[in-house]
């Protein structure tokens, strides 16, 4: 009897083990993939303005981004009053989150995206190609892609040159935010007529100002403080610097990173860290610009967000009337390096899921179209983050009907659009990742590691140890770039 029960148990166990792999093959069927670029669209004019439906939007957990979406929803409701919005938070890695929602068959209709993750999500078939809508609305005269900065508009496209996978919500480019109080304290000339710190200033100008500030910091007991939070291993910054130095990442079938240009660029960056001008992000050291200690921040963050942070730091002085926020900080363009200068850029935006219900699809596009309209772009600014608008006709922040400069008239907001203005064309997206878009993050990580590895090395520039480190990080980077671009 005992033997029979034991045998039965073994048979049941074996059957269960055999069934599990079979059952695992019967997974919940994921939603229908990308409908391609041939699906039918309804003309904007034919849409029922009183249609009642719900659009789900997934956006960042960041309160400002949620406010942006709420502001856009409220503006959109003026034209489509019966469309409601379910806003859900997207926490952590966009790719991972979307993978979870996709497999659970509960994809949001619209979701926050950014130009690098978009490449992999699009390749996985999760993004709706907006081209049919763009084509239809261009034909009926309600949409014109030429209204937008081409350099930024294409960052929402398939491999940055094709079907539209994302509508960029702003034209972010790297600028330098600076603490005016620290500059004035160090005797830096900020007179608009004579200052070096102005749009289009050069790298040499930047270094001269840094030298003066460094001397002042050293003489006032702040020898250990860096001047700038530089984020040198962030692709928007390092790619602009490397590209300005003429660094080539890839040839046809090999990496070209091992070059004299790379060595010069890396030494220039290391020099910034050694002189304590710029804190390397990898070194987990910081100038603490946001805490009111550092002078510069090399970032694309909207001026209103920086203003909010510094208002908190200087709240006592602002409250007692010693300073206004425009006495405390301002922005200026990223310094131009050499004869072929570049300014880093990348964009965030919103995509429509390829799985969206056909009846909702037309309205989801209308929502994105509203976001890209003048009113929508103003709405974004008024929701608390005055990102530079995507529209070329809104470049002047203080022009009539343009609101991204409202309340910030004393700030140099032109710095945010300067690099993309006609005749400048300095905007530089991280294009080397297009060699293998599916491994964009890995390609970026390898270059970032090369920079971090060299900048964090304690050996001083020119020493044998530093040269050896420089050679090894570049050699490793070349191998790794080739692996991710061609072999993985």
């Amino acid at each position: 009897m005992k033997m029979r029960i034991k045998s039965l148990g073994i048979v049941l166990m074996a059957a269960l083990l055999l069934m599990l792999p079979l059952l695992s093959g019967c997974r919940v069927e994921p939603p229908a993939p990308n409908p391609g670029d041939e699906y039918e669209v309804r003309d904007s004019e034919d849409l029922d303005k009183n249609a009642a439906l719900e659009l789900s939007i997934m956006t960042s957990t960041d309160g400002k981004e949620r406010k942006i979406v709420e502001g856009l929803a409220s503006g959109f409701n003026k034209e489509f009053p019966n469309i409601t919005f379910k806003i859900t938070p997207l926490s952590g890695n966009i790719y991972e989150s979307i993978m979870g929602y996709y497999n659970a068959n509960i994809m949001p209709d619209i979701f926050l995206n950014e130009s690098l993750t978009m490449l992999t999500l699009g390749a996985a078939g999760t993004l709706l190609d907006l081209s049919p809508y763009i084509k239809a609305d261009t034909a009926n005269g309600t949409f014109n892609a030429n209204d937008y900065y081409e350099n930024f508009w294409r960052l929402g496209q398939k491999n940055w040159n094709g079907g539209q996978w994302m509508a960029p919500r702003a034209a972010d480019q790297v600028v330098i935010s600076f603490n005016k109080l620290k500059m004035i304290e160090a005797g830096i000339d900020l007179n608009p007529a004579t200052t070096k710190v102005k749009n289009g200033w050069t790298w040499d100008d930047f270094l001269e100002v840094c030298a003066e500030l460094r001397e002042h910091f050293d003489n006032t007991g702040r020898g250990n403080l860096y001047l700038a939070d530089g984020y040198l291993n962030w692709e928007a910054n390092f790619n602009a610097i490397l590209s300005s130095w003429g660094v080539q990442y890839f040839g046809e079938d090999e990496s070209l990173i091992d070059s004299a240009a790379t060595r010069s660029a890396l030494n220039m960056m290391k020099n910034l860290v050694e002189k304590k001008y710029v804190a390397s992000f990898n070194a987990s050291s910081q100038a603490n610009f946001d805490g009111g200690q550092g002078v510069f921040l090399l970032h694309s963050r909207a001026a209103s967000l920086t203003a909010d942070i510094l208002k908190e730091v200087y709240k006592t002085q602002i409250a007692n009337g010693t300073y206004a926020i425009d006495d405390i900080f301002d922005v200026v363009t990223f310094p131009l390096i050499g004869a072929n200068p570049k300014v880093g850029a990348g964009v965030a935006g919103y995509s429509i899921a390829s799985t969206i219900d056909a009846t909702k699809r037309d309205y989801a596009w209308q929502f994105l179209k509203y976001m890209l309209s003048k009113d929508g772009q103003n709405n974004i600014s008024q929701s608390g983050a005055n990102y530079p608008p995507m529209r070329k006709d809104m470049a002047d922040p203080f022009a009539d009907g343009v609101k991204w400069g409202e309340g910030m008239e004393k700030f140099n907001l032109a710095a945010y659009t300067w690099a993309s203005q006609p005749g400048h064309n300095y905007v530089c997206p991280t294009e080397f990742v297009l060699k293998r878009p599916a491994f964009a993050n890995d390609l970026i990580f390898e270059v970032s590691s090369m920079i971090g590895g060299y900048l964090n090395s304690p050996a001083l520039i020119g020493s044998t140890a530093a040269n050896s480190k420089l050679n090894s990080v570049i050699s490793d980077c070349k191998d790794n770039l080739e692996y991710w671009a061609f072999a993985a």
């Binding site: 890695n93 991972e96 497999n103 996985a124 078939g125 999760t126 993050n441 990580f445």
Partner: protein, 306 residues
């Protein structure tokens, strides 16, 4: 005859009750663990991106791990180095700590609680804490060693990041300490009393009573420590950077097998099938090591053997 039937009937009811009581756990494990494990085994034979692309590739993923992937050697090297050092270190430190707090001093429970307290802190929070403690600019650790004129970059340079990480494993000795304390409590006091009567000193009592009698717990801690060290993950993600491609540490110095599995599955255009294969390789390795440990456990003194 009637009596026999009644007994077997009662036995059957007891068995049924037992099955019913364990059923929720069995269903839970089957649904939330075994099903996923089997599913990952299924995925490991496909070029699966985590979305809709799913092409059968046979054993290609498994072959590529050992013939094609240049990160394989790095992650195996780091993981095994970490395991080889932290497992014995954790066992010895945990055992010594347990011996230290295994006495009847006044207030000893406070020390036991203090040693155990770090174990209840979540790994991610602990990771953030260690990152700040070992920050090269403002970290407490540099201020402490600065007294002796020393300074280190800890996690920021490849050469010191692994030793620094291993140092942080001391954090978890409270976990094994508690298990050993319970083992010590189960050793019959009479053994010590007889040994004392026979003239055994403290060392002899430790060598010939405490150690042999706690070998089952040493074995348990050894097996769980080996498995745990090969599955090192969450703390590294915080210490080594962020999500996606990060979590590798400076120059890949903290790049572990599970971090790679996570990166491949969720950060690289979705190599879910490949990551699943890697997961199964890790499972096989852990299974083999555990098997070897069980086969070589003749040194373990079980009470029933005596």
């Amino acid at each position: 005859m009637k009596k026999k039937t009644r007994i077997s009937k009662r036995k059957s009811i007891e068995n049924l009750q037992g099955v019913l009581f364990t059923l929720p756990v069995i269903i839970g494990i089957a649904v939330f663990t075994y099903y996923q494990a089997a599913q990952s085994l299924y995925y490991s034979f496909f070029d699966y991106n985590g979305f809709s692309k799913m092409d059968f590739v046979g054993f290609k993923n498994f072959v590529n791990i050992f013939t094609h992937d240049k990160e394989t050697l790095v992650v195996f090297g780091n993981t095994f180095l970490y395991a080889v050092i932290t497992v014995p270190l954790g066992l010895v430190l945990g055992y010594l700590t347990a011996l230290l707090v295994n006495n009847k001093l006044k207030g000893i429970n406070i020390f036991r609680a203090l040693f155990y307290l770090p174990v209840v802190i979540p790994a991610v929070a602990a990771g953030v804490l260690w990152r700040d403690i070992f920050n090269s600019d403002y970290g407490v650790m540099n201020q402490i060693i600065g007294v002796f004129g020393l300074h280190s970059r800890f996690f920021e340079v490849a050469s010191s990041s692994m030793p620094t990480l291993i140092f942080t494993t001391v954090w978890g000795v409270g976990g094994s300490m508690v298990i050993w304390l319970s083992a010590f409590k189960n050793i019959p006091v009479e053994l010590y009393e007889s040994a004392k009567l026979d003239g055994a000193n403290a060392w002899h009592r430790l060598r010939y009573i405490t150690l042999p009698m706690s070998t089952p717990m040493i074995f348990f801690n050894l097996v769980t420590a080996v498995i745990g060290s090969l599955q090192t993950m969450s703390t590294m993600v915080i210490m080594g950077g962020g999500a996606g491609s990060a979590g590798k540490g400076e120059s890949n110095s903290l790049y572990f097998i599970v971090v790679k599995i996570y990166n491949d599955a969720f950060g690289r255009g979705g190599r879910m099938g490949y990551a699943s294969a890697f997961g199964w390789i890790l499972f096989i390795i852990i299974g083999l090591l555990t098997f070897v440990l069980f086969k070589s456990n003749k040194w373990v003194q079980y009470a029933e053997n005596n």
